[in-house]
């Protein structure tokens, strides 16, 4: 399946890109998506994740066509 990946803020700078399209098998978690999109980097525990713009956990299952985002702690307001 195909999943759209986004990185924001300091994570975007560390990754050197604001996102990617990931091709992966039909059964995959957010953590699997991270491993593939990051090229195997460790994911820091404070990284936040979302599927289709809703917060989720790293063990949540991803579906084809989903938008999965990874970003550091938020600092708005």
């Amino acid at each position: 399946m195909t999943v759209s990946v986004k990185f924001f803020a300091s994570l975007r700078e560390q990754m050197g890109c604001d996102g990617a399209t990931v091709e992966i098998g039909e059964v995959a978690t957010v953590a699997d998506i991270w491993l593939q999109a990051s090229g195997g980097k460790a994911m820091l525990p404070n990284i936040l994740v979302s599927i289709n713009q809703e917060y989720c956990g790293t063990n949540d299952m991803v579906s084809s066509g989903d938008e999965v985002a990874f970003f550091p702690p938020v600092t708005g307001g």
């Binding site: 713009q53 970003f71 550091p72 938020v74 600092t75 708005g76 307001g77």
Partner: protein
């Protein structure tokens, strides 16, 4: 209820007045007893360093959706008449307003509590990120917000 995210600098007091004229005055005539507002503005210092500019990044779509969710949740937790949230993104300079939260209700307890709760929710969960341009020429991502309670 209105959620707006914009790169445009804004005058919060004029934004509130305009919103009242368009959405409050007629619809809630005689019903408003309390308006609590909070404006967050950009300081020229943070964590002991001078700050001369800020780049505010957000997650288009998710940010609006998340702010809409918390505004709707506030309206279930308290009896409110209306809520306005405005948040800047893009490049800011010191003294510019970053965020405006305004809550209209019949009684003050609800307005005070909802306004503060909305700000804490916004700061802890809404996907915005601040990058500071320091007066020494360096830039850095803000790593966490100061405590709200």
């Amino acid at each position: 209820m209105s959620i707006e995210i914009s790169e445009a600098a804004f005058n919060p007091w004029e934004a509130i007045q305009r919103y009242e004229q368009e959405h409050i005055v007629r619809q809630y005539a005689g019903k408003v007893g309390a308006v609590a507002t909070f404006i967050g503005t950009m300081r020229d210092f943070n964590e002991g360093d001078g700050v001369m500019g800020m780049e505010l990044e957000h997650y288009p779509g998710m940010t609006e959706g998340h702010l809409q969710q918390i505004a709707e949740e506030a309206a279930t937790k308290w009896t409110l008449l209306d809520t306005l949230i405005y948040h800047r993104v893009g490049r800011l300079i010191p003294d510019e307003p970053i965020v405006l939260v305004a809550v209209w209700s019949s009684h003050r307890k609800e307005a005070f509590e909802a306004c503060r709760w909305l700000m804490e929710e916004l700061k802890s969960k809404a996907p915005f990120w601040k990058k500071e341009l320091l007066t020494n020429g360096e830039s850095r991502w803000v790593e966490k917000n100061t405590a709200g309670y």
